[in-house]
């Protein structure tokens, strides 16, 4: 393919206008030594037909949720997405516009971002939210960095071991080079919850914040009351990280627990799994922190005629103005995915979000009960959960073959991240896992 519209005569006329005769003259000011080595050793271009064929073949080598029974969560969730969502985000006016630097011709994007910020505030129960960041992991890291900003002098970060392991490693990566910061891991109890007593002891006046998953990586819903209390005593901020925001349509939202910064991954709200990206990170906080927020913020204002309009605002926080003093380096974010979530939440609305969350919880609870009672699997944790849970599955490496033969992926082994949990499988059940699938899952576990 070629997407360059230049005909030979176009080129010739344009060159003549510039005062040149050959295209190569455009690059002759570049050192010859560089130009000589610049040829690209890749195959020639293909027709669109050949491209599609090649890509269909590649795609065909992946197991999809359409042909397989996935009981996989762990930060990425397979949920119902109304076709209307893709219809909207496919519209060129949204998909092929840039970050809305010219508000007069970007009210579509800006209005949607303002609606997004509002929806995130409502979902999390927080006072302010930005227009989104890269993903849940970087959102968690940004939250820690923000805690450091607003809590200056405090150099200690307590992070729950029950927080998504990839998020913990991203936080660690972000902190590693900020020599002055120390990251302390909080253990979890046999309920699968973060150890509140440990926090009570460890949190002190050097502690900037405490970071926990809500629900956490094991699917367990943390009781945030004792954590909030411990943070209050220590003057530390409480940060929650949610990887399954659908749960917040059912669970007491972070804001109601008095959380200071509530962040998470938004993929589960209308974005296909897509091997884990793109999704988007959401970032909400208490109003008093607004000027320390990372990322973009859209605010309401008016034009000379008094018409309501929306603009990017408080940008003095941002890199393009503040440069090295910015609250974050983020520029291009994940707008279109945030738009997908905005459309998704708008369609489901108050009742639909609640219903979908209820269906997830009930179906997951019923499945766990069956796996324990009928397949005799032992629970790993005792804490309350939303739509995922860990069960003991011994000899997974021998058994997995049988499951895959039935096109079932029953869960994700926790051992990779938790050597202390060698036989644990993290199992997720959503509304997309039908009766029969769960039946099959149970039967396959029984048949050993």
């Amino acid at each position: 393919m070629r997407y360059t519209p230049h005909t030979p005569s176009d080129k010739e006329q344009m060159l003549r206008a510039i005062g040149l005769s050959r295209i190569e003259e455009l690059v002759e000011h570049i050192p010859a030594a560089l130009r000589e080595k610049a040829k690209i050793a890749l195959p020639e271009g293909l027709t669109e037909v050949a491209v599609k064929k090649k890509m269909v073949a590649l795609a065909g080598k992946n197991a999809t949720a359409q042909d397989w029974h996935f009981f996989l969560g762990g930060g990425i969730y397979h949920h119902a997405i109304p076709s209307a969502v893709d219809a909207i985000i496919s519209r060129a006016e949204f998909a092929t516009s840039y970050t809305p630097y010219q508000p007069e011709v970007s009210q579509g994007t800006l209005t949607a971002m303002y609606e997004f910020q509002t929806l995130i505030c409502q979902l999390t129960g927080m006072e302010v939210a930005n227009a989104g960041v890269y993903d849940g992991a970087s959102a968690a890291a940004e939250a820690v960095l923000m805690a450091r900003r607003v809590q200056d002098g405090r150099r200690r970060i307590l992070v729950s071991r029950a927080l998504h392991p990839q998020y913990r490693s991203v936080i660690a990566t972000y902190l590693r080079n900020l020599h002055d910061l120390e990251m302390v891991e909080i253990p979890f109890t046999e309920s699968g919850a973060t150890d509140a007593e440990f926090i009570a002891k460890a949190a002190d006046d050097r502690t900037a914040c405490v970071v926990v998953g809500y629900p956490n990586f094991f699917g367990v819903i943390e009781d945030l009351a004792p954590l909030r209390a411990a943070c209050d005593r220590a003057g530390a901020l409480l940060v929650t990280v949610t990887t399954e925001p659908l749960s917040l349509a059912l669970l007491k939202p972070p804001g109601d627990w008095g959380v200071d910064i509530a962040v998470g991954e938004g993929q589960s709200l209308g974005v296909p799994m897509t091997l884990g990206g793109p999704g988007f990170g959401f970032f909400a906080a208490q109003k008093k922190f607004v000027r320390s927020l990372p990322g973009r913020l859209v605010g309401e204002t008016v034009d000379a005629a008094g018409r309501r309009g929306f603009v990017l605002t408080l940008s003095t926080r941002e890199q393009h103005i503040r440069r090295e003093k910015a609250t974050s380096n983020i520029c291009t974010s994940q707008s279109l995915c945030a738009l997908a979530a905005t459309v998704f939440m708008s369609i489901l609305g108050k009742q639909g979000m609640r219903r979908l969350a209820e269906v997830n919880a009930r179906r997951a609870h019923a499945a766990r009960t069956r796996l324990i009672q009928e397949a005799g699997l032992a629970p790993v944790f005792s804490g309350p959960f939303f739509n995922e849970f860990a069960l003991k599955v011994s000899g997974w490496s021998e058994r997995r073959g049988r499951f895959f033969a039935n096109r079932i992926v029953p869960g994700a082994p926790l051992a990779e991240w938790y050597p202390e949990l060698p036989d644990a499988l993290l199992i997720c059940v959503t509304e997309m896992n039908e009766e029969e699938e769960i039946e099959q899952l149970v039967r396959t576990f029984i048949a050993r």
Binding site: T4, H6, D10, M14, I18, H29, L34, R35, A38, I40, A41, P43, L58, A59, N62, A63, A65, D86, A92, E93, A95, T96, S97, Y98, Q102, V105, T111, Y114, E115, Q117, D135, V170, T173, R176, M273, G276, P278, L297, G299, T301, R307, T316, H320, I321, R322, N329, T332, S333, Q334, S335, L336, V343, I347, K350, Q351, G352, M353, R354, R363, F404
Partner: protein, 491 residues
Amino acid sequence: MSERLSRADDRRPKLPLIFESGSAGRSGFFWPEEKGSNEIPAALCREEIPGFPEIGELEVLRHFTRLSHLNFSIESEFYPLGSCTMKYNPKVNEVVARLPGFSLVHPLAPPELIQGALELLLQLEKMLAEISGMDAVTLQPSAGAQGELAGLMLIRAYLKEKGDARRKIIVPDTAHGTNPASSTLCGYDVIQVSSNKQGVIEPAMVEQVMDDSVAALMITNPNTLGVFEKNIQAIADVVHRRGGLVYLDGANLNALMGIAKPGDMGVDVLHINLHKTFSTPHGGGGPGAGPVGVKSFLRDYLPVPRIVKKGGDFALDANQPKTIGRVRSFFGNFGILVRAYTYIISLGSDGLEDASRMALLNANYLKKKLESAFHLPSTEPCMHECVFTDRYQQKQGVSTLDIAKRLLDFGFHPPTIYFPLVVSGALMIEPTETETRETLDAFAEAMLAISREAIEAADFVKAAPYTTPVGRLDEARAARKPQLRWSPAGG
């Protein structure tokens, strides 16, 4: 149809927010009630979400369809936003990215079930390495800025390993804001080096600030004036001689494909914005992707997991003792990577080389057409974009902002304005290679018409735009008392 100027004879209703329409109890989602119950303690539960929308599917579609009509976009307007490479985003990429085999794939599925995805990722790493002249690539970073951060972390880890912890990064005054911001985020102090009158960095200037406390120089090439840093190799030598590394901001790679490889310029680390050079849609502000390429001596420090080929199979290798760790979850913005891969195999080596050349042709053509009426801060040959200023128009008190707003009435998206910062009143124009000569001519005519208007009717220009859904918005007011969310109270 779009909502535009509201006028006496225009009775079309104002667009409400999704929170301002609907009816209690309405929803566009249908799912039968699930039997059974959940065992979550009531104390951990909430009521239905207060204030959440209550509208139907058609209303939602109408709302967002109408909103879409308020946007300019590549597919409806010429969008010469400098430094952003707003080229055509091919439709076939969108079709391919939506194949179930890519969109309905779970990142925690075992490698044997995602061989197609891993193959694509490994191939894309190789392609980007070949195009940029680097030895190894990571696809994890979500965008350019995260790529910068990752790249600086690699440098830091490498120097640390060598027991040579350094504290500073040299950043030219022409650099994009993310460069200094990323440096700080990586724990470095920023020293700024100024470009010369032509906007170019001279080895001597780097010489002055380069010492063994400097970890690296971040340089953009072509730089943000669209000028090729012809001394880049000499500059790299200066930095290397003092034990520093060279980081290239690859946002402008669209100017270099098949013309010059950063890897041959003495660059040790770079990032690439797939949403610029490789045609993935900007989406109103992402998602994009910012892969990082390195020379072989930095390979061991790349984020984990690495994708490796074992025999015929693709596998994940997280066992990299020197790695900086993860910079984001899972595999990065896979859906974007699929689009970029599709673009690269569509164009092929010949198409990519042609793309950069036509990008240069378009930029030089526009530069020529506009230089009679607009001031050019740099007389160096331009690459894929050119920067003008409002110096001439300022005589009539017409500023770059005014010119930008007036362009909207001509149906063109304005160039990037007031960047780079070193150029006062900058108008940074990047046409990209996918635009036609006729479009460039029409844009040039508009610019020239505005420069005439500036002389004949300055005030008229300063009150523009006139044809947009809203006029200039009061940004000061928005920042003074930030109204960042809708609330029933109204506001």
